[in-house]
């Protein structure tokens, strides 16, 4: 393993120190438990939007803390969901009478730890709700699995609920919006290489030179299916079909297309894939009205991409366009 790190056990905290120094104008970092908070938190009268999860998916979540998006991010150890006391610290630092919404990606660990935190907060008399995002179509959604994973849709959900909270929506309204978004966002990912978790020191899985993992998650869990590498045209079509046919998205739909790098895939490939996805959606009569392209929810240095489609309407489009001012996502601010 070659990484720019010192002791693997200190990676997250040391990284947060650099993040705090780089973005002191936007965030404040608390340590032990580690929490990244909006510099001006708590914002009186505003619903707090809080998310978190294992580290290693940056810029998710810390890079999205700031006006128009998250009030706090709770980074766990690499690929390990944070503990309830850390979530609790984020709630305490950001939550006013307006309450808070916890955005939880659907992983057993995240759900259990955030659930516990929500119980603790309720015991303190705060109105804290949580929603679980599970947009990954690669996983069979059945009572016989842990359910679908939360992946790319999380980024969009954080932006949209952040915008709703910023314009003064109530917790009821923000929660309802979150459930609506979760209902109409779908994703799929693919990995060309494996990430290496610092304390493990070796790649999470191994792939032959001509193999890729189709339906990969964001934690180095092996994907659902191992397939041969294929040209981008075929690969993107395979990915898009999985997403489009799941909801399903249909001719005439207006969508946001989010083409995400898993970290190690460079922009030249990412934009190439994005271009193909745009063309294929146009062929299906689905109108791409908004797009996001970049490494926004990653898996350390893993090479791969994910595609996320969100069905848009006027309300979601307006919330998407609303100002956002964070380390990683910024417009009209």
């Amino acid at each position: 393993m070659k990484k720019v790190i010192n002791d693997p056990a200190d990676v997250v905290t040391e990284s947060l120190r650099g993040f705090a120094a780089a973005h002191a104008d936007r965030v404040r970092v608390q340590y032990e438990p580690d929490v990244v908070v909006r510099a001006d938190a708590p914002v009186a009268g505003k619903v707090a939007i809080i998310s978190g999860g294992g580290s290693g998916h940056e810029p998710l979540h810390a890079g999205f803390v700031g006006p128009g998006m998250l009030d706090a991010a709770v980074p766990g150890a690499v690929f390990t969901s944070p503990t309830p006391d850390a979530v609790q610290a984020a709630v305490t630092a950001t939550t006013s009478d307006a309450g808070a919404l916890l955005i939880v990606k659907n992983y057993t660990g995240d759900v259990l730890n955030f659930e516990t935190a929500a119980e603790l907060a309720a015991a303190e008399g705060l109105d804290v709700r949580s929603v679980v995002i599970d947009d990954d179509v690669a996983v069979a959604d059945s009572t016989f699995t842990a359910g679908r994973r939360g992946v790319g849709g999380t980024v969009l959900l954080e932006k949209l609920t952040g915008a709703a909270a910023a314009r003064g929506d109530s917790l009821d309204a923000v929660e309802a919006l979150a459930r609506k978004v979760i209902g109409q966002v779908r994703s799929i990912g693919v990995a060309l290489t494996a990430p290496t978790v610092p304390h493990v020191g070796e790649p999470s899985f191994s792939l032959a030179d001509d193999e890729i993992e189709f339906g990969i998650g964001i934690h180095g869990e092996p994907g659902r299916e191992r397939i041969k590498i294929e040209p981008a045209n075929a690969l993107v079509e395979r990915m898009l079909n999985a997403v489009v046919e799941d909801l399903p998205f249909a001719e005439g739909d207006r969508v946001l297309l989010f083409t995400n790098s898993m970290g190690g895939t460079p922009p030249v490939e990412l934009y190439l894939a994005h271009g193909i996805a745009e063309r294929l959606l146009a062929d299906r009569g689905i109108a791409v009205e908004r797009r996001l392209v970049g490494p926004y929810i990653t898996s350390l240095e893993m090479q791969g991409i994910s595609l996320t489609l969100l069905k848009l309407d006027d309300e979601l489009t307006e919330l998407w366009d609303a100002p956002v001012d964070t380390a990683a996502l910024r417009w009209r601010a």
Binding site: P33, G54, T80, G220, E221
Partner: protein
């Protein structure tokens, strides 16, 4: 060993040692069908328990178990943190504030632990989780006559239970994403449950 506060503390220290020794193995097992952090996470949690015990050992077995529970909850994270945390918390409640535990109390603690894990994680037998080690362990423990034989029986059953997970297809936790591909691998959580009970049994001898 007598099952006093100090005895439970000693058992937890023994468990911490075993977890540290098997850290890499648990990482490896989790890497195959999960995300490779199980050994690291448990090791962080048990090291923190030892640090707390070094500072001060609480008065009763129940209080020691509660310290373990809160430490695991606040240090481990992931799925195993709240699950093991809940297990120790429920065990702590079950044994009350007796100053020494007898065989029946240990069995009650184990049963409460199992119920806690199942309440939180909703896993049933055969889902390829730590439940597959803990459930037979509780059943076997009921046949023990003293603390040592209770824990010995539990440990042996947990080891067999853990082994049984190899053939299973995961239906809970991260390994479930793999579907059929999860078969053929030992479940890391079942393995760690077996290791912990083994360490407790050893300490009780």
């Amino acid at each position: 060993m007598s099952c006093t506060a100090n005895g439970v503390a000693a058992a937890l220290r023994a468990a911490a040692k075993v977890v540290a020794e098997h850290r890499a193995e648990l990482v490896e097992l989790d890497r195959a069908i999960g995300d490779g952090d199980h050994g690291e996470n448990l090791n962080r949690g048990f090291a923190a328990i030892v640090a707390s015990l070094d500072a001060a050992v609480p008065d009763t077995p129940g209080a020691v178990l509660k310290l373990a529970a809160t430490t695991l909850i606040s240090k481990v994270g992931g799925a195993a943190g709240p699950l093991y945390g809940t297990a120790f918390l429920r065990a702590s409640t079950a044994v009350g504030n007796a100053s020494e535990l007898d065989a029946a109390a240990v069995v009650a603690g184990l049963r409460a632990a199992l119920e806690g894990v199942q309440a939180r994680g909703k896993a049933v037998e055969g889902d390829k989780t730590m439940v597959d080690a803990l459930l037979p362990a509780v059943a076997a423990a009921e046949k023990g006559t003293d603390v040592a034989s209770v824990l010995q029986a539990a440990a042996e059953a947990a080891a067999r239970g853990a082994e049984s997970t190899v053939d299973l297809v995961a239906r809970k936790g991260r390994a479930s994403y793999l579907g059929e591909r999860s078969a053929g691998h030992l479940d890391p959580g079942a393995r760690s449950t077996s290791l912990l009970l083994g360490a407790f049994a050893e300490a009780a001898r």
